[in-house]
Point group: C2
Chain length 123, copies 2
Amino acid sequence: MRSTETAADRIPAHPDVAAVPLQAVLEALVDPVRRSIVTQLADAAADIRCGDFDLPVSKSTATHHFRVLREAGLIRQHYAGTSRMNTLRRTEFETAFPGLLTALTQATHTAAVTARQESPKAG
Amino acid sequence: MRSTETAADRIPAHPDVAAVPLQAVLEALVDPVRRSIVTQLADAAADIRCGDFDLPVSKSTATHHFRVLREAGLIRQHYAGTSRMNTLRRTEFETAFPGLLTALTQATHTAAVTARQESPKAG
């Protein structure tokens, strides 16, 4: 083999969450698509493949959003075969920004419930 | 008197915090000047006059930031004589977005402490 590249080499370094400024975290979370990615991860019992999120954007736009979340210390990415997987860095993030992730996911769920109550579908 | 305008008339209506979308709240709080206004109010034991905040912006820019915070349900404004006073809508906001304000003010304080530790001043 001439190349020694491994799957790990294809993923850029992840920041130390404690070193991420609050400003970067809020700029990541102010975007509704990125907040949706975080909420879907928070609700899932397992990691989610990049292609398996329910998102209203193109694949290349989604890739941009994953990068912003990774650089803000919110998600960790790794390869499983050829699939890029995403993990919420829940424990590390909770240590660095106590209560923030819980408050945001709870507020997102409350908003979703309110929206369903206000526009009930027949059937 | 020909005018029946009262001090109350000079302040626009305040929204019901429960009706403010999370998106509007986060767009208000992503700005560092607005976050500083909220933190100063959270730390103060009393209301703060618009002119008494420690802010790095002009008076007209500050007025814009107060308006965004008022429309996001974060502050309540009223007149005391000719002074426009600001109150954090802490209890109402906590009911609508549990834990969010606490998490943000705590993160802001942690960041401030870290910044002081990293650049200690002599004397």
